[in-house]
Chain length 144, copies 2
Amino acid sequence: MDTGTNTEAAIARTLKKNNLSITESRKKILQLFLEQTGALAHGDIEKKAGEKFDRVTVYRTLQTFVEKGIIHTIPTADNSIRYALCKDACSDGHHHDHHVHFVCTNCKKTYCLDDVVTPEIKLPKDYTAEQVEVVVEGLCRDCR
Amino acid sequence: MDTGTNTEAAIARTLKKNNLSITESRKKILQLFLEQTGALAHGDIEKKAGEKFDRVTVYRTLQTFVEKGIIHTIPTADNSIRYALCKDACSDGHHHDHHVHFVCTNCKKTYCLDDVVTPEIKLPKDYTAEQVEVVVEGLCRDCR
DNA sequence: TTTGATTTTGCAACAATGTTGCTTTTTAAT
DNA sequence: ATTAAAAAGCAACATTGTTGCAAAATCAAA
Ligand SMILES: [Mn+2]
Ligand SMILES: [Mn+2]
Ligand SMILES: [Zn+2]
Ligand SMILES: [Zn+2]
C-alpha cells in the first residue's frame, strides 16, 4: 500500500470537501501541515514550499485555508502568526478550536494541545466573551 | 494645583526610578500611556507622537520600557502587538503581569483586566509552563 | 555653570512582511 | 475539446521593523 498516494488522496478529499479546486500549491501546503507535528509560521511555509510558489500564492492559500476552517491561527508574543491544522469540527467561516496552545521558549516550536480545553474566564459584568485564547509559554518535551 | 505639573513630575520619577535619562520622547510616550485607558499599538503611538519623533525612536523607546518593566506587551490574533502600562510590581528584566487581556472585536480596543488573574492550566506531563497568556475576545462595555 | 563622557536621537539605508491590480495559466464542468 | 471561472504569477507598492553611524541631548563632575 502506497502511503504517499493515500495522503494525496486525503488531501484531495479535504480540498473537495471545502469546495476548493485542487491545485499544486494547495496540495503542497496542505501536505506540509500534515507532515508536521507542530504549527507553521508563514516564513516556514515560504521556505519549505516557496521555491516552487510565489510568495503571494502562499499568503492567499493560507488565507483561504483559514476561511474554510482547514487551519487556524495561533497568536504569539513575537508578532508572528503560526498556523496549525484544525482537528475539531471547523467549517467554512466558523472555527471551533477551544484548545490551549504551547510555545517553547527554547526551540520556538508551537504545539496545539488538543486535549487541553480553554478554561472559563469570569469577566467583569461589562464584558462579553466570544472567544478565549490561551497561549502557554515554557519548555517543550524535547527541550528540557 | 497644577495637574499637568504633577503628571510631569510623576513621569520624571518613573524614569529616574528605572535609571533612564529624562528625554522628550520618553516623557511624551509615557504620558500617552498614562492618559490612556486601554492599550496602545505601535501604530497608535506613532500617530499620536510620531510627528515629533522619529519612527525608530518610538521603536527603541517601547523596547526600553518593556525591558525596564514599565510597560508589557499583549499578544493579539491580528499580529499587531499592543502595549500597556504595568500596574503590578514589574521591574528591570522581570515582569509579573498575571492578568487577563480583553480585545473588543468591534472597536479593537484592548484592555488589561487587572483583577482577572490567569488560571492555572494543567499541561501534559512533558511540558513545563513558564507563563500563561490569556486573551479574551468579545464586546467591550462601550460596544454592546 | 561650564565641561566632557555617555546616552539618546535622527537619519539613511536596508530588510522583511504584507497588499493590490492585472495578465496568464490552470482547473473543472459542459 | 471547449469554455467560463478560479487561481497563480508577476510587478509594483505599502507597511513594518532593523541597523550603523553622525549629531544632539542628557547628566554628572569639576
Ligand atoms: Mn491549535
Ligand atoms: Mn495587561
Ligand atoms: Zn522546545
Ligand atoms: Zn469595543
